[in-house]
């Protein structure tokens, strides 16, 4: 992957946002995770966080750190994430609704959802794991009215996005399954769902 174009924006007086002109992809996710890790080692940097197409760099020394970003980009190595297998029981509260909405048999939905590995794009607070897209055949709209609480370990779909609720929280994603254990994940890792 050739390095995509980027711009460095200020996010207030204590943070920079490195924004890439590229569509989300496995390569971009690995690049962002690598840049976030490398930038965390710069002098004056308090914290970093990769997004979908951006990397946040929290620092009181914006000018110095901004000047260091191009050099960092030239040397950055894409993260080589680990592949995690997650045992998933496909009996989520919305599983039957999703099958009906798609006009699809349960076996086909499970086969399509578990066929490909997903990139861990970013981790939201508290404990929400944003994954890369599901196959277009199983995209479903999010709920009109979010649930007040979704159990930790739930796996959901919203449009083509998919994600894992690491902790109980409100949410409107269609829950297709649940796992007893969410592994410790970092952006750039990949997960594959193993039907139980």
């Amino acid at each position: 992957m050739s390095t995509p174009e980027f711009v460095v924006e200020s996010l207030g007086d204590r943070a920079l946002l490195v924004r890439f002109r590229a569509e989300p992809s496995t390569e971009l996710t690995a690049l962002l995770a690598g840049l976030a890790a490398a930038a965390a080692g710069l002098k004056g940097v308090l914290d970093t966080c990769p997004g979908t197409t951006t990397v946040l760099i929290e620092t009181p020394d914006r000018a110095e750190v901004e000047a260091a970003v191009p050099g960092l980009m030239a040397a950055v190595k894409p993260a080589e994430g680990a592949l995690h297998e997650i045992r998933l029981t496909y009996d989520g509260d919305d599983f039957r609704w999703v099958c009906q909405h798609l006009g699809m048999d349960a076996e086909d939905l499970i086969a399509l959802h578990s066929a490909i590995p997903y990139d861990v794009r970013l981790l939201g607070s508290p404990g929400f794991v944003y994954l890369s897209d599901v196959p277009p055949e199983i995209a479903v709209p999010r709920m009109d009215e979010p649930r007040r609480s979704v159990a930790g370990g739930s796996v959901g779909i919203a449009g083509r996005q998919s994600g894992i609720y690491g902790r109980p929280r409100p949410g409107g994603w269609r829950i297709i399954g649940r796992t007893a254990e969410v592994p410790a994940l970092i952006p750039g890792d990949r997960v594959r769902f193993s039907p139980q």
Binding site: T53, F128, R167
Partner: protein, 258 residues
Amino acid sequence: MIRIIAPAIATSIQDQGRYGSRRLGFGRSGAMDTASLAAANRAAGAATAAAGVEFGPGMLVIEVTAPGNIAFGGAPRPGAPWWQTVEVQPGDRFELASPPEGMWSYLAVNSGIEAPVVMGSRSASVREGIGSWVAAGAMLEAGNDNAEPETVEALAMSGDVRVYGELSGNWTVGNRVDRMGYQLEGDPVPGGRADLLSEPLVPGCIQVPPNGLPIVLMAEGPTVGGYTLGGVVHSEDLRLVAQSQPGNKLRLARAVET
């Protein structure tokens, strides 16, 4: 050192915040008004970075169980000297009423409040599963972050709030205010979207959802979000937003880029 007889709303142990774990989904947390906690720490004889007790509206009742120095800072309340070193003895009791102005007050003790360090910080972040709210009967012990007590100046609880970006003008603080965010009420801002790619955020970011009512993200705000960004509050002024009570007027002024 301190026994909590009755907690106020959202009483918790906080320090200057958690840095370095944002990519794992753990935000900064820390005090809603970090400058007030730091000043109270200096008055009590604790390191600036030490942990203290943050408490919101409502009455807080505490009893001292060991001799030492303490200090109160943040939103001033009837019932104790404020912004100064207070020498205390076992049995001393403080009943602090809800603050007439401001939202968040701080109790600092010499050597800081002891609490487990999680990812570099003693700050509770209940939503993220770190620590818990301080309940009635809790015993809080002093830590090891001691320093010489200093004279400190009172900090203002209100004032103009500088914002980087488009959002400005006069707003009213809504009823939906907590450690995660403060909703503002006023003329709705057009163009708010909820379907943007999720990108990182910091405390001070102002999100504009489709209803046009801005939400200022506070200490315990989400690490990522997909709403339209209306601006970012200057880091020194976020405490003024935090100290605004529901119904207070808030004037947002353009920050000058440096």
